[in-house]
Symmetry: C2
Subunit: 207 residues, 2 copies
């Protein structure tokens, strides 16, 4: 295993990404344990030999999917946050971006939510490290929002809660249903920003 | 299958509950698909024959666990809500109760979150029906909170979001960690009540 060593060079990357996409769709539909390499090779329209050329086994494919998704969440986020001047717009940016990235990558996002615990520990740890880094970015913005008047473990807890709130939508949102993801994203943002404003103005908790 | 036909009479019920508890713990630890009836019989310290006396197969055990948990969530809730006079305290009551019931039944609650889709459709539908009834109770309270000035599909969406927010805690909360479940429950409540207050006072969404 070599976490982080992803060669995004042309053909090879395209093929790995195609295998990852086919596998993520199957994991979402049938479950990780129920999906075989044969299923993946059929869905990706590639021979099993070709799949083995890129991945030694099924959990390497799962790791690839999750690792690419986490990189996708992290990519450029710090720089974009630096360009925003106030913590309120940073929070809005993080939440809307989180939900819109999910919208483009539903099977991969579902794999993050439901599949990470299928990974062997070494691989899991590498994904968990990126997840922590991601929620730390929101925790830092929250600390800024509260002018440093919040303990870091509470800021972290709130960042987990807000991502949990956003992620839970993936379990029930129906793209054909009466409410768009854009509207839900607006509801989540209004709830959260209203909630922390209330806490900040002193009617909330002892932080 | 006979949903709802649970005989809570003495010995038989105690034995079924013991099997359910052992199975829920294994499903949480090893995953539903990876757990065999042999594992359950060993953990429950009962013969496989004894387990087959009460359940025909593994998904009947999963159904039993989820059905009992949903009954546990629903039991007496409507009556208790009737006794509260304002929607604010009804919301607080629902959220705190939801988190405290989870605290007593962690493996069963995890089974609801991660296992329901392992059920055959007929069983799944019966659980989903109870879940809908449960979140409708919160949606009705929200409609009351907004003096009826909210579309029911938005009230339902908000009720899913708030349960999603509470449930997500189960995935990461460490009972040995620095923040107690009671504190997290307080944070969730403050965030949510602050959020809907903000929406109600007109700085939120067009409902």
């Amino acid at each position: 295993m070599n976490p982080g060593a992803k060669e995004r060079n042309g053909k090879e990357w395209v093929k790995k990404a195609a295998i990852g996409r086919a596998a993520a769709t199957l994991f979402d539909k049938k479950g990780y344990l129920e999906t075989s390499l044969k299923d993946i090779s059929e869905a990706a329209k590639l021979s099993k030999g070709c799949i083995y050329y890129y991945f030694s086994n099924k959990h390497e494919i799962l790791y690839f999917i999750l690792d690419v998704y986490m990189d996708h969440l992290l990519e450029g986020l710090e720089d974009e946050l630096k360009r925003k001047t106030d913590s309120h717009s940073k929070i809005e940016f993080i939440m809307r971006r989180h939900l819109s990235l999910y919208n483009n990558k539903i099977p991969e996002a579902m794999a993050i939510l439901t599949g990470a615990n299928n990974l062997p520990y070494e691989y899991y740890r590498s994904i968990a490290f990126k997840q922590k880094k991601y929620s730390q970015l929101l925790a830092d913005v929250l600390s800024e929002y509260f002018d440093g008047e919040i303990k870091m473990n509470k800021a972290k807890a709130i960042s987990y809660i807000v991502f949990g709130m956003c992620n839970s939508i993936m379990h029930w949102h129906d793209p054909e249903g009466p409410i768009t993801l854009e509207e839900l994203s607006g509801i989540c943002f209004s709830l959260f920003i209203g909630g922390i404003r209330q806490i900040k103005t002193g009617q909330g908790l002892n932080m």
